[in-house]
Point group: none
Chain length 423, copies 2
């Protein structure tokens, strides 16, 4: 089955926004045993939309069209679909009704141009959008089913899960089974890990793929025949063994989500003191519901004054070793743990750049501390002259990994082949 | 002139890597007065490459093909181009010579498979790559010039600047210029704002587009003729006036980036106290270099204990009004400002869900406080039962907007048509 994606919108085409829906969609298909065969991006011009629908529908079986279902004038997808199919737009009464109820519930007045969102090509099948005012729809043109979806990422994702995946499963004539196992790793680069995993003998129908989604690296094991599926668990076990220390979890979760689950399960409490990460460490955990059970507080001590006033870091330490030092990281981790009386205290202090580096402490120098009830562990890493975002994300990841190891009873400081430790 | 882009490679199509070349290229074209009319992404299969070259060359004038020029087996662009054009691959002696010199200079031996990189379709015009081993080339097929470029971003960018831009300038028969203005807004929904902007009369060749990138909404004014470009400033001024209170900045920046710039410029200092945003408010500012100049600290006071210990919120207030109340928000904002002795203190406390709501304070209830040196402003908003991410992001945005207004000398609390204020 040939599945294609058509992304619409000047802002996607003109690069004003990076098209995260497209890469998410391609990954989602892969996870579910399908492959994307082509992606086309066009702007908001009517003739471009019509011609791409007509062209691609001759070759593809299912075409997901993303975007252009909004209430404004430059949202032309429904109209273009109607013209491409040679049918008029008609009001979809069920959706108009649902939309009215939606506005009534949220105490807002439905603007006149929202009614446009209930105008669908005649003969199209409406697809409910439980989280927005743009309904989706599907319509057959030439060889293909065109499935129109909203551009807002969470609405798009919901519709793909609720509707597209069941639909393509039902359309697939000869069922080619696919099963996928995912092993999450941290600290080793793709090429290095891949060459180590070359030594694992794989049965016919089993492939290994990699997806780098910094800071973690996902190892995907695909089984594409019934015989291969029967051997998937055994292979996964072997691969996991070969990965060794870098393995931190199964099933495609981020390191932050993994540590969140571990914290909930273990019943411990934590507090953090953040300098260069500036709240990112706490924020990535607070993204998950239930984080209030373990996260007592995080103190973003961006200035030296804040480090002293809020965390009790001594002036001597700051003067003698500097704000970015293992000594300061130790006092930050210890300070925040004692103030909040938690089981663990985490700290990060570093130079995220692009300015602020020195010969002694260049951009990318980050010190990370973990305080337990008995001990304080610190390490100084040199991430190199990477982007501010990369350095901040990697700093959080190392801190989570130290905590993960400590809770699991391992030594908190590990050797990461892809990262350079100074001391 | 119709300019298209074809991106090749399984890793781009399958979303393993985000295609930054494409968005960079589209932006670069726009900056130089051209528009990208379509972008197609295909994998590494020979038949897909040949068919996309043949298809698109019937419609487009210039097609930039990116990727697939490397030395390995899955780099098929040159071979596919040769087959699509019906010509053989031949050695390009000048490039072979340059490549040999390049390897000699860097003291390395040229691998056998690098010779593949000098095999070009017969009749193609070689394009030198001064920064890598993959030369580019261009060849005419049907209506279009196909221009093949390397996938490595800095090599690609160099070739676009040195070769593609001069080439398309020389090819352009009738100049169709484009200019774009962007106005950033916050607090009003797309449909409502669009219907208000309908009253602005637009000259021929000027269009308005919208891009919702929650929490902000971007209004884009495109001018597509010389006459339209001459009127762009005037139109932009009129649109800005009509937008009114929701306008916060020009040029496609986020609210966080705007407030960051304003804070740097005004020389004030701030501190934050965050509950449900959990460090996000600080983290979004720390993402920008230089934020240390104004951000003293943020205290993520997730637990009641932290609110008392770290911020001095009184037990009475917490007991009487609850952690999510205007009173608590006021004490948090005031507390953090006094502790850090800053010009402004910001606070957010709310229920981000999906659990933790009550009849009285359902999910989406958020109280936001701003303390100046003389006064404390608070508001209680009801965002509705939206996602945790949405509620947290919107909370930060409202806090930034309060601060922005205060620094600009406006009243900090505004009416946001898309948000419901309780008190």
């Amino acid at each position: 089955m040939k599945i294609e994606l058509i992304c619409t919108g000047e802002e996607v085409l003109s690069g004003q926004i990076v098209d995260t829906n497209a890469s998410w969609f391609a990954n989602c298909l892969l996870d579910n045993g399908f492959e994307l065969s082509r992606k086309t991006t066009v702007g908001d011009r009517m003739e471009d939309l019509i011609s791409v629908f007509q062209e691609r529908s001759k070759t593809a079986d299912v075409i997901v069209v993303n975007g252009g279902l909004g209430p404004t004038e430059d949202d032309l997808s429904a109209q273009a679909a109607a013209q491409a199919c040679g049918v008029p737009l008609v009001v979809n009464e069920p959706w108009l009704e649902l939309m009215s109820q939606w506005f009534a519930r949220s105490g807002r007045v439905m603007a006149a141009n929202n009614k446009k969102q209930a105008m669908l090509p005649e003969g199209a099948v409406m697809i409910e959008n439980p989280v927005g005012t743009a309904c989706g729809f599907r319509i057959k043109l030439n060889n293909a089913w065109l499935l129109f979806t909203p551009g807002v990422p969470h609405e798009f994702k919901r519709m793909i899960h609720d509707h597209l995946l069941p639909f393509v499963r039902s359309q697939r004539s000869s069922r080619t089974p696919v099963k996928l196992a995912k092993l999450m790793t941290f600290g080793e680069g793709e090429s290095q890990l891949a060459s180590r995993l070359d030594s694992v003998t794989l049965s016919d129908g089993i492939d290994i793929g990699y997806r780098a989604s910094s800071p973690q690296l996902e190892v995907k094991i695909f089984a594409r025949t019934d015989a291969a599926i029967a051997k998937l668990d055994e292979t996964t076990k072997k691969v996991k063994q070969q990965i060794g220390e870098s393995f931190f979890g199964e099933g495609g979760h981020t390191l932050a989500e993994c540590i969140h689950k571990q914290l909930i399960k273990s019943g411990v409490t934590i507090a953090a003191a953040e300098s260069c990460t500036g709240g990112l460490l706490a924020s990535q955990l607070v993204a998950f519901p239930g984080s209030s059970r373990y996260l007592q507080s995080s103190i973003v001590s961006y200035s030296n004054q804040a480090k002293k006033t809020l965390l009790g870091v001594s002036s001597d330490t700051l003067e003698l070793h500097g704000a970015v030092s293992k000594q300061t990281a130790a006092e930050m981790a210890l300070g925040v743990r004692q103030i909040m009386d938690t089981d663990y205290g985490l700290s990060v202090t570093g130079i995220a750049g692009p300015e602020g580096g020195s010969d002694d402490k260049p951009v990318g120098t980050v010190c990370i501390g973990l305080s337990t009830r008995n001990q304080v562990f610190t390490q100084r890493l040199q991430f190199g002259n990477r982007s501010r975002t990369w350095i901040r994300n990697m700093s959080c990841a190392v801190a989570y990994d130290m905590l993960r190891r400590a809770i699991a009873g391992q030594f908190p400081i590990a050797d990461y082949p892809m990262l350079k430790r100074i001391s």
